[in-house]
Symmetry: C2
Amino acid sequence: MILRDEHKDVCRQRRDREKAQRMASIVEAAKKVFGTKGYLKATMDEIALAAEVTKPTIYLYFKAKDDLFFSLMLPLIDDIRAELQKVESHLRAGKIRDGAGLITAIFNAFYAAYEHWPETFRIIQLFQQQGLMGELRPEVRSALNDRGRANFHLCRQLLATGMELGLIRKVNVYEMADVVWGVLVGIIQLEDAKFYDRKDKRTTENTLRLAEKLIAEAMTIKTRGKRK
Amino acid sequence: MILRDEHKDVCRQRRDREKAQRMASIVEAAKKVFGTKGYLKATMDEIALAAEVTKPTIYLYFKAKDDLFFSLMLPLIDDIRAELQKVESHLRAGKIRDGAGLITAIFNAFYAAYEHWPETFRIIQLFQQQGLMGELRPEVRSALNDRGRANFHLCRQLLATGMELGLIRKVNVYEMADVVWGVLVGIIQLEDAKFYDRKDKRTTENTLRLAEKLIAEAMTIKTRGKRK
DNA sequence: TAGCAAATTTACCGTCAGTAAGTAAACTGT
DNA sequence: ACAGTTTACTTACTGACGGTAAATTTGCTA
């Protein structure tokens, strides 16, 4: 007896669901193991064990260790973009009154992502190394670059708009976007390294807030100050 | 015939020289290989080949891969300290007139080290990862921390003195020192990652200078401005 | 020259990323 | 119901690399 098309479809949908489920469990396991052990000490066997499958099964879903690692970064990058887009709509709606507000909002967009998934954030830092960037296969690398670039583009747009609106002073937007991202990554990374045994979230936040305050003050256009 | 003590000494001195020479050649090879391939892709065999010895020979001079890696960082850390000490003596001698000058001097102290040994600087960044920090044996890690801490201490002292002298505004020195170091490392690392194929030194420097300018301006005490 | 000490190498081990080959289940058309 | 196929997964392996033990060469001493 021939199965009705609908029946086929239903079965296929279930299998697709199961496959997605398996993939998700691998990703979850990877997040846990990479997050606690770091890239080097994490083994594929351990991740497989945590995901309740065997190692080769992982290789059905991910081409390589770095591929799996990379897949953890995408949601974070996309989350940052979502946050930046929120800032953009606020800016367009005129809800951001001064330069300090804009800088703080941009900082918060990145910081929120870090607070959400600190371990994934750390993963990005690892990839910002020539060593690991070179390791990536070209497709993977370009995918990563594209997404990252999109975020930087959005960030630069925010800064440019802020300059046009007269909220912040005019500087090179490319450099400025890099300063923001560099400050965030650099400080988070430094604090992580300093307190790698007793993770002290508050110190990290305080330091970040100081950096944010300084940059915000320097970027804010003083209504009656000198231009130099 | 018994050799005179002087003869023995001369021979021993030569052998010591040769040993030091061998060690230096291993270090040089390691610098080259780690610098181009990164920590992960660099193999001990490749370093040994570049140093024109075999792998076990390296292990006569360095306990482990991370030990060798670590040894590359020490000169850099010490160099930064030397630069910071120069700044300190300038500051004490009253050669630094304003806050911007002090911030610039501190930035330059770190930046000079980067310009001197960019590949070694990248190595430090690699170690500022939880993953690699955890990899280090405790002795190595604590030695690294001690040296690093000394630099931070010096940097904080500079900032504190600058505050006492009324050159820069009063903020938390611990946080401020972290901001300086974080900004430098974060930006250098970001630019390295962005232009990992076509290393563009100038872009990196421009971005760093912008960050420096912003921080310097925000930290400088305005003689006739509002405090807010 | 024999004997000793240091320096270096050859040959090996354990671990881990990645793969080839096999298996068991579910699906397919007759 | 049943043979053939596809899908999902596993067992068992390979190769590369960090690190080491044992053998070997080199050079000094008497």
